[in-house]
Assembly symmetry: none
Homo-oligomer: 166 residues x 2
DNA sequence: TTGATTTCCATAAATTCCCATGGCATCCCT
DNA sequence: AGGGATGCCATGGGAATTTATGGAAATCAA
């Protein structure tokens, strides 16, 4: 199904220019999903900040194409389609990974993550969380707070692994 | 699908001469869709103000060609075709991006956006909102008012992403 | 001429590019 | 096995370039 596979959790420093390194492992997948051509050698990331939550959703180029195909399969002009366009297209940005393997977190993305001017000035930590077809970027502080209780809320998650009925 | 891709939201100042900078990222796409020739080096924008809403729809030259192809695929002389021609062709203007990366918002466009004489005199903020094949220009005030509730109206838009049934 | 529009110039802030460093892990050689 | 050597990775700092934007000058139109 999905060729690529973003996995794992990584903590990376964000400096006062909002620069952050993409974990090498994830970079490999971005490169695979956006092969270089004549104009462009650097892989891009599609960062979506309009889909709710205190984080950005990040797709490889290949992954984004699949996402857009789904959106565009809804009827043009329908309310849902408009809403999807605002959330996933207007509220998204393409960013290039530079030659040092870094990106700059765009203002809108930082806002969504709850990064304050103060956070930025001092530098802060970001968490990259793999989700197979995409990865999410969180402010580490938020990530830890929102995910730490998984164990207690769902003590026996293994048992719930069976596929839903059709 | 679409090579070019207008994305993201940008806020830009409009001065009392109605000048406004095109966000650099979007300018790149306009340049790509309207390569310079012997006569003309500056990229053009097709601004459509007849298609409803409190905003103008903006296409690259390449995008506009695709749009016209769609319109012209409807039967000549049909009521729909006539209406489409009025909305998208008659009610549109081509504007050139100047060497500083700016355009002047034409009166008809300003009118559609709901820009008052007073707004203009004092200067105001415009929002550029990417929609892949085009971008929209809004008065920021209007844009914020009309889109801010997406989150609350559609708190879990992600869940509605599933493809429609065939 | 006068008012409006377009071109040109100026600049501060933001962004991008380039180089440098320290830390790990791996490889390689004796 | 030891111990460099090598290379990639995360990160920092500064230089160089682009942007966004304001204002003045030049051009155009009525």
């Amino acid at each position: 199904m999905v060729q690529e596979a973003f996995k794992g959790e990584f903590y990376q420093k964000v400096d006062s220019k909002a620069r952050v390194s993409i974990p090498a492992q994830m970079r490999r997948i971005l490169e695979q999903g956006d092969p270089p051509d004549a104009e462009r050698t650097r892989p891009r990331i599609v960062m979506i900040y309009g889909a709710g939550g205190k984080h950005a959703q990040c797709y490889s180029m290949a992954g984004a194409r699949r996402l857009y195909a789904t959106i565009y399969s809804h009827e043009e002009g329908s309310e849902l389609r408009d809403d999807l366009e605002i959330a996933f297209v207007s509220r998204s940005v393409d960013v290039e990974v530079d030659d040092d393997g870094r990106i700059v977190l765009p203002p809108k993305v930082r806002q969504r993550m709850g990064v304050t001017a103060d956070d930025l000035a001092k530098g802060f930590s970001a968490t990259f969380s793999g989700k197979l077809d995409r990865f999410e970027i969180w402010k580490s502080e938020t990530y830890d707070a929102e995910t730490s209780d998984i164990d207690s809320v769902n003590p026996d998650i293994r048992r719930r692994l069976t596929p839903p009925k059709p």
